[in-house]
Structures are given as C-alpha cells and as structure tokens.
Symmetry: C2
Subunit: 235 residues, 2 copies
DNA sequence: GGCTTCAGTAAACATATGTGCACTATAAGA
DNA sequence: TCTTATAGTGCACATATGTTTACTGAAGCC
C-alpha cells in the first residue's frame, strides 16, 4: 500500500493529478477574464498554475484540448442550474421572474465560466465555437419540449416551438454576456430589463398563428397580422 | 509639382499611404476570419500586407489602434445601411421582411466586418468591447426614436421603448453573428427564423402595458397578465 | 534643381513561444 | 523490499514576437 500512515496530507497519485489538472483549468479561467482564449499561451497557463510547461502535456494534448475541457465544466454547472430551474416549475408563481433570478445568481457565482462561454461562442477557435453552439442548441431543444406543456404552445408547429425556444435562449445568453461584464451596481437594472424583454416576447405568444411551412408559391388569402407588422402613424 | 507627367500609375504620396493603410486594415480583416483579434500579431499583419513590421508604425500606434480603426470602418458601412433602411420606410409594405432582407444582404457583402463586430463584441480587448457596445447602444437609441412614430408605441414609457429597441438590436446582432459563420445554404433558413422571431416580438407590442417605474413597495391590485406569464397545463 | 519630408527598409535586440529528450522522485503494486 | 509506472523537472532547440535605431529613395515644395 502506498499510504503507510493515514496522514491526511498524503495524497494519492490520482488526487494529486486531479489537483493540478484543476489548477490548470482554473488558472486558464482566471486568465480568460482579461484575454481571449486564443491569445492565452500554454506557458502562461503553466506559469499561473505553478508547474513546468512540459508537465502540461501530462494532462492535455494542447490548449485546444484544455479549452474543450473548460466547455464541459462550464456547461456542467449550467446543466445543474437548468435542471434545478425546471424541477422548480411545479411550485412557482412567476416563471419569468424566477428564471431571471436564477440566471443572475448563476452568473454571479460562476462568472468566469459564463464569460468564457459568452466570449468563445463567437471566438477565434473553431472547435470551441462548434461545441458551444451544439450545447446551446441542446438547451433550446429541451426548452422546446418543456414549452409544449403550455396550452398556448401545444398547438404550434414543432418548428415554431423551436424558433421560439431559440429566441428565448438567445435572449438569455446575450444577457449573460452583458451581465459578465457589468459592474455589480448595473446588475439590477440589467436584470429588470431582460425580465421585461422576456415578458414582452411571451405576451406575443397567444397572438401567434402557427402554421405548417408554406409549401410553395405565394400565400393565399389576406395577409395575416403577423405578416404585416406595425404601420407608422405618419408618412 | 510632384506629378510631372500625368501618368495614372504615378501615385501621390497621400494616395500611396492611404493604399497601404487600407492594406493593413483589410489584411487584418482577412486574418480575423480565422482568429480572434487579440491573437493576431503585428508581424502577421505586416507580412500579409507585404510591408515591414517597422512600417506599421507609420500608420498606427499599435494593434489596438488598428482595431479601433476597424470598428470605425465596420460601423461606417453599417450606418450607411441603417440610413438606407430608415429612409426606405416611406414606401414599404412589410418593414420586418424588408429589414431582414437588408441585414442578410449586408452580411453577405460585408461578412468580414460583421464577423469582426460579432466576435469582438465580447472579445478579449477591453477597449474594443467598449467602443462596440457604445455604437450598438447608439443604434438602439436611434431605433427607439424611430419607434415612437408607431401609434402603439407612442404611449409607452421612454424607458420601455428603449428596452424594446434594445431587444430588437440584440436579436439582430445575434443573428448577424450566426449568419457570419453559416454556410450559404443555411442562410435562407436562418433568415426565415429571425424574421419569425422579430414578428413574434412585435406581436406582443399591443398587449404590453407600459407604465412608469414602480416607485416602491409591492404593486397594488391584481397582477397584470404580463407579470404572470404562462401557466402550464399539467402539474 | 536642390533641399526637405516621410513612407518604407534592414538589421539587431531582448524576450516569448511550443515541444522534444533525458532525468528524478515517489506512489502503486508485486 | 524491490520493481515499475508516472507526474513533474531541467535543459535545449528553433522560431516568433514587439520595438529601437540608423538608413534610403522618391514625392513635395521653394
């Protein structure tokens, strides 16, 4: 047995490895608060983590690999949050207010992770962009399923529900991006605004006439309200 | 006079300078299609432009300075687009469809500029983020003014109109980000989706009850529809 | 035509980078 | 207790970076 005396300050090999792996990840996350992922060098990360550059390769094949691990981490906690939020809906009075609250809290507690996602969503590393996009699409899909529980939305086309879920996710993710770079005192106002925006979007729901994709040619009959848009009062 | 013979292949000094300046900008833009701004080196840019690294300093103080110039360029063409779109509203039948069309076309013709904005909006360079944010806020403000021409929105609080304009801008900018990295064949579907999303948002407008900010304490009376949100059908 | 201005060059610098190779120390396993 | 596996070190390398310093050549101006 490796551990002859059970002194708690003796680490098993795995424990130690896991510890420095985590150090690498969180060092990167720290650096990411000031720089884009692509501009962070392997050596910077190891310096920040207190190990030699060569030891890096015991944990990751290279920076891109580490980046993917970060995406996993970030979406891991996000999934936890969403699961909590979903199970919460049984005893709510106002879904929107509550959801926004949860998001704000999550950003506050996982600022670096959220900034990472918001930043690298359109960042310079193709692979990261793709993985993040995929994860977000997954969220939207889950949300679309949840939405069919609402009677107003049950009659909608599947594709329309997708479109709606996508819109909601987009709004929230944008808000997360802005929250991560907001000063604490702006946080409240930002939260109130996004709440209003979500509310406004939801209000439109009963007025939406979901229809199967038009097959071809021009639509027949009078133009629907939702296809005409608003009319200006004056010229 | 510098130009003794009026041969067209003799450049004036200014012309030449402007030409390599432009080369620097467009080279960077080209590199930007594959990498984040922060990860692009000054030497890379000069290599791509066909000049020596030292000559760079005849045009910009450093990469950040060049970045700011790029933001100017990008928003320059954007402003042109918006102006065109606004003056267009006198003779339209469907604002939304038309606007989306204009945006899609603009992205197609200025893909690199638009990608730059979408990418650096939350990118690694603080200064760039701030300038881009400011410009976008400006757009939202203008839009908010335009919106007051619509009778449904004239009665709204100024802050609610801002909130609404902000939402529209956010939706469009997100869409631009996705358009810039979409394959040509996905473009149509993306366009259709964003059109629907905008329509859905607009539909909610007549249902919105804009009120002055609540001063304090809890709201009195029955909860408004827009504060209750949707209710799920089953537990 | 001759003097000035200035966009661009050439060489050099100190410093940073990613990665390969040989090594060491210690936990794990026999 | 002796052997093996492996996380981490140290050194070396080729190559890349931002910036300085002294320069060249042609356009601009009198």
């Amino acid at each position: 047995m490796g551990r002859r005396h059970d002194h708690s300050d003796i680490e098993s090999r795995m424990e130690r490895k896991e510890r420095t792996r985590h150090a690498l990840l969180s060092s990167t996350l720290r650096l990411l608060s000031k720089h884009s992922f692509e501009s962070i060098s392997l050596r910077e990360v190891t310096r920040e983590s207190g190990i030699t550059p060569t030891a890096f390769y015991r944990h990751f094949e290279g920076m891109e690999d580490l980046g993917l691990a970060l995406v996993d981490e970030a979406f891991g906690s996000l999934h936890d949050m969403v699961r909590a939020a979903r199970s919460d809906t049984s005893t709510y009075d106002d879904v929107i207010r509550r959801s926004v609250q949860i998001v704000v809290t999550h950003v506050r507690e996982h600022r670096d992770h959220m900034r990472f996602i918001a930043r690298e969503r359109y960042g310079g590393v193709r692979r990261l962009r793709r993985v993040i996009r995929t994860e977000l699409d997954l969220f939207a899909n889950e949300l679309a399923v949840d939405l069919s529980r609402f009677p107003e939305l049950a009659g909608w086309t599947r594709s329309d529900r997708q479109m709606f879920a996508d819109l909601l996710v987009e709004i929230v993710v944008s808000a997360v991006g802005r929250l991560t770079e907001a000063h604490p005192e702006e946080e409240g106002e930002l939260a109130r605004r996004i709440e209003k925006q979500l509310r406004l979007v939801v209000i439109g729901v009963p007025g939406w006439r979901s229809q199967p994709e038009k097959r071809s040619g021009q639509a027949s009959g009078a133009p629907m309200a939702q296809e005409r848009g608003l009319e200006p009062s004056a010229k």
